[in-house]
Amino acid sequence: MKAVFLLQWRRFYRKPLLVLAMFGLTVIFVSVTAAGGQSGPQMIPVYADKSMNNQQAQTWIERLNGGEQFQFELMSESEARSYVAEGDVSQAVNLLEADYRLLVGREDPARFALDSFLRRIYSEELRLENAEQTTPGIRSEMESALSEPALTLSVESLQGEEDSFQYNGQLQLLFGMTLFFVIYTIMFSLVRIVDEKRTGTWSRMIISPVRKWQMYLGHLGYSFLIGFSQITLIFLLFRFAFGFELGDRFWLLIAIAACYTFSIVALGLLIISLITKPQQLGAVIPIVATGMAMVGGAFWPIELVTNEILLAVSKALPITYGLQALTSVAVYGNGLQAVAIPLLLLLGFGSICMAIAIRLMEWRSAS
C-alpha cells in the first residue's frame, strides 16, 4: 500500500499542473471577487426615480440602512451609473415609488442577498401602507419600530427561520469555491485508477504480491490527502495572508474539511465504478462538480434557493452539508455540537458510496 501511495506523490511531483491549477483557480477567484467587498458593509449606490422627491428618497435610505450588510448611499442617477460602469461596485438600486430596480454591472453573489433584503423592506412598507388605509394612524405607531431596523430584521424573515440569515459574502465565496474546485482535484486523482486499468499498470500490480485492497487504499489515501491539503492550505492562506475572519474554531473547519473530502473521495470512487471510460469521465466529472456546486450552494447561498425540488436535491449532496457546517462554524460561531449532524451525514454519505463502489467493482472484475 505504501508503495502505491508514495508512487502517487511521485506522479504528482512529475505532473502537478492539474492540482496546482485547481488550487490557483480557487485563490484567484476568491481573492479577485472578494476584493470588492473587503471589509465592512458593501456600499450600494442608490438613485431615486423622478416620481419621488428628495424627502421621500431620504426616508427610504434610512429605512434601507437599517441592515448591517449594505451601506446605501443616495446619489444622482449619473453618479450611480458611473460607479457601476467603472466596476467600483457590482450593482446599484433604483428606487421607485412602490418598487425598485437593480442596476447590475457584473455578477456578484451578494446580488441575491441584496435582492432579498430589498424585497423584504419593500413588502413590509407596502403592507404597512395597506394597513394604513384601513387603520389610519398605524404608521405613526409603527414608525418607531421601523426606525429600529435590527428589530425589523429579526421579526420578519422571508424564510421564516429561527436564525436570521446572516450573509457573509467573503466567506460564502471562499467556502463555495474551495469546496467546488477541490472536487476536481480529488476526482481527477481518482481517475488514475481508471487510467491504470487501461494502460495495464493495474494488471501488473494485481499479479504482484500486493493485495487489491492495498492498491485501492494507496490511491484513496493519496486522493484524500491531496484534496484535504488543498482545502487546508487555502483556508490557511486566506486566514493569514488575506486576513479573512474565519472564526476562532479553525481546527473545527479543518475537521469539516476532512469529512467533506472523505465524502467526495467516496463519491468519486462510486463514479469511476459506474463509468469506466476515461473520456466519459472527462465529461461527467465537470458536470457532477458544477451541478453539485450550483444546487448545493457553492455559487450562491442555499438560503436564497426557494425551488422545492432543488432544495430536496441539495439535501442529498455532500457539498450542501460541507458548506452548511463551515458557515455554521465560521459565520455563526457555532461549535462541534451544532455541526455534528452535517458531519455525520458526510461520513455516512461517504461510507455508503464507498460500499456501493467496492461492491460494483468487485462484481465487475469477477464477471
Partner: protein, 310 residues
Amino acid sequence: MLETQQLTKKFKDTIAVDDVSLVLRQGESVGLLGPNGAGKSTAIAMISTLMKPSSGDVKLNGKSVLKKPGEMRRVLGVVPQKIALYEELSAYENLKFFGRLYGLSGNELEQRIDYVLELVGLADRKKELVKNYSGGMQRRVNLAAAMMHEPEVLIMDEPTVGIDPQSRNHLLETIRKLNQDEGMTVLYTSHYMEEVEKLCDRVYIMDHGKVIAEGTKEELKAILSDQETVLIDFDQNYPELFTKLSEIEGVQQATAEEHSLKLIIPKGTRLLAALFHEAERYGAQVVNVNVQTPTLEDVFLRLTGRKLRD
C-alpha cells in the same frame, strides 16, 4: 514446475482458450506461437492469476494457484504485450515502484535497479522520462520491470512487437542469457518464428484457443518431413496462373505473394513439368525456383492454413 490443466476461458460469444494443457519444466525455454486472436494473451492472463479460468487449473509445483495465488505472484514475472509503465515517470522511478511492490527496499532495491538497467542496456539513460523513450527502449523497460524481483519463471507476451532490429537483438540476447546462464524458466510468446527458433527448446502452437501442436523444434518439423516447400518467383503477378498452379494435384498448401508463389508438396511430386507448361500458357516468365526443407513457419501454415502474421 508450472502447468495448466484443461485451461478454458469463455467470453460472452467466444471461447478464447479451449482446453489448453501446457507444461513448463524448470530451466526450460518454451515458445507459444499463434496468430492474432489465438488466445495466447488470455492464457497468460490466467496463468499469471490475473484472470479466473472458466474451467481447468493452473498449478505451480503441483499446487493449484487459483485459490492461493500468493506463491505464483512471488515467483512469476510477466512482460505484458502492451507497454504497461508510468509514462510521466523516469525508467528509474518505474523500476523502483515495481521493485517495492515485491517488498524490495533500500540498498537491495537500488542494486537490483542497477542490475536490470544494465541488463537491458539503459543504465546511462535511467533518469529520462519513459514517454520520451523510443518504442524499443520502452519495450526494454517493460521487460526490466518484470525482472525486478528476480522471477524464477518469466512469461513474455510478444515482447518484441514494434521495435527496431537493434533493440530486438539486444532483447533476445538478454533473454537467452537469462535462460541459459541463470537458469530462468521462460515462456516466450511471439509472432516471429525466427525468435522462437532461436530461443526456445520446445514450442506450443495455438490456434482458435486450442493447442494444435507441441514438441521440440525438430519434432514439429518432422510433421512436414515428407514434404517440401517450393518457392517460385515470376516476373510479375498472375492471379489466374497462381490459382491454376495451386490446384495441381498433390499441392497441399499454396500462398501467393506479389510476384511469387509458395507451394507445399509431398516429396517426389512431379511439379516442374506442370509448372512450366502452365506458365507457358499464361505467357508468364519463371524467374527463380527454389526448393526448401520446411521451416516452423511452414509447419504453422500447414497446421492452421494461415500465416503467423497477417
